[in-house]
């Protein structure tokens, strides 16, 4: 017996293929559905930590001086730290969601299609940006009694620059998703074509974040109407719109695969 892997003959494999195929297909799609729901963890822990416990809704303003920002971190204390731990925990679940979209896209494009990879990598990097920003803000919130206000301000600035100026990863992910949706030539597309245009709008709105380092007040500051409310509002809107359609797409693809398997 031991720990050696079970070796099957090609004949045994062929038998397994025909008898267990529907079971395997159902298993695959069950995993895909669970992974898609990863977005609930991302949004729940992300918003709970970022907005709820850290109180970054809106965040302390870009024009605040070092004492103002350090004061906020001192006042918020442990709840800000817990909020950032939650954000860092929730971040990676975004790539689970993206991995499912990547699989759906791979069914739309051909085997050499690059959009599914763009979707997956964009998701992974967006998750990484979320986690890294949370870690930087968490560092700023630790040992507040021994950190100078200038250090806290520098870390806080760094977190925001990391969070905002890296928008191109997410925009490319959304462009990949949008072009894939438009390439779907089924009579009833897996995801409606208008969703692609909502993705393009979100990707284009993100570009406003390039202005963030240059304006400490107004709509383009990191707490501003465009750079914060419009950009993040659209980001969560696209997650909320895509997820139910992706769920339905999985059901259709599962039915197609089960029919093909006999």
């Amino acid at each position: 017996m031991g720990i050696a892997p079970e070796i099957r003959t090609p004949q045994q494999d062929a038998t397994l293929d025909t008898t267990d195929k529907p079971t395997r297909i159902r298993g695959d799609y069950l995993t895909l559905r669970w992974s898609l729901m990863g977005c609930l963890v991302y949004v729940g822990f992300g918003l709970g930590g970022f907005a709820g416990l850290a109180g970054f809704m809106p965040p302390p303003a870009e024009h605040l001086n070092a004492a103002g920002i350090a004061g906020y971190f001192h006042d918020r204390g442990i709840s800000l730290s817990i909020g950032m731990v939650m954000l860092a925990f929730g971040g990676p679940f975004y790539y689970l969601w993206s991995a499912v979209l990547s699989r759906i896209i791979s069914r739309i494009e051909g085997p050499m299609g690059v959009l599914s990879t763009v979707e997956l990598l964009g998701g992974l990097l967006t998750a990484w940006i979320t986690v890294m920003s949370a870690i930087i803000w968490l560092t700023a919130s630790m040992r507040p009694e021994s950190r100078s206000p200038e250090t806290i301000q520098t870390l806080y600035d760094l977190g925001w620059i990391f969070f905002d100026v890296t928008f191109a990863f997410t925009s490319l992910q959304l462009l990949g998703l949008g072009f894939a949706i438009l390439r779907d030539k089924r009579q009833a597309p897996l995801i409606p074509h208008w969703v692609a245009w909502l993705g393009f709008l979100t990707a284009a709105t993100n570009v406003a974040l390039v202005l963030m380092p240059f304006f400490e007040t107004g709509p383009f500051a990191w707490q501003g109407l465009i750079s914060f409310w419009a950009v993040f509002g659209l980001f969560f809107l696209i997650i909320g719109v895509v997820t139910p359609y992706a769920w339905k797409a999985l059901r259709r693809l599962e039915a197609e695969d089960l029919t093909a398997a006999g």
Partner: protein, 197 residues
Amino acid sequence: MAALTTDQAAEPETRWKIPGIEGVWVLMAGDMVIFALLFGSFMSARMKDPGTFEVARHTLDFDRGGINTLLLLTSSWCVAMSLHAMRAERREVAVRWLGFGILGGFGFAVSKVLEYSAEISAGHTAGSGDFFMYYFMMTGIHLVHVLVGTLVLSVFWVRWRSGREVRGLTGFESAAVFWHMVDLLWIVLFPLLYLVR
């Protein structure tokens, strides 16, 4: 032709169809909401400091603003005429109208760049207070829309002029609708920045 006949059979002629690609309307609706947020934000900032905004407004070139408005309105009209001609299967006429429409877009862009250059030479930049931040950012974002629109219209112009077969007008309708939105946004931007006292 056969496909067209089948489509017509499926959809009664009385049924109204939104011009262009549906999704482009979603994009434009969102775009207009974002501009509306900017307009509201500008008005709110103006109410807090009307004196400074009024002084800054007087440094703008009203005549150039008016000329730009005329350029965009005329360009929009030319694009509408082009679509009209295309629907009547008068391709050469459509190409000519579209060419004039594109020239209007280029004219607007060149005029805007000259205006920016004059403002910057006078020492006004996006960092010279709230009014100029809004002025440069809102007109700058609008200019990006003008450039995108001009580029898209130019693609249609090149394709039509090359004599390539035209498969439906949905794509061009979308471009034309987008171009009208660019026009509409300027019609709000112009009075907001240049005229409102």
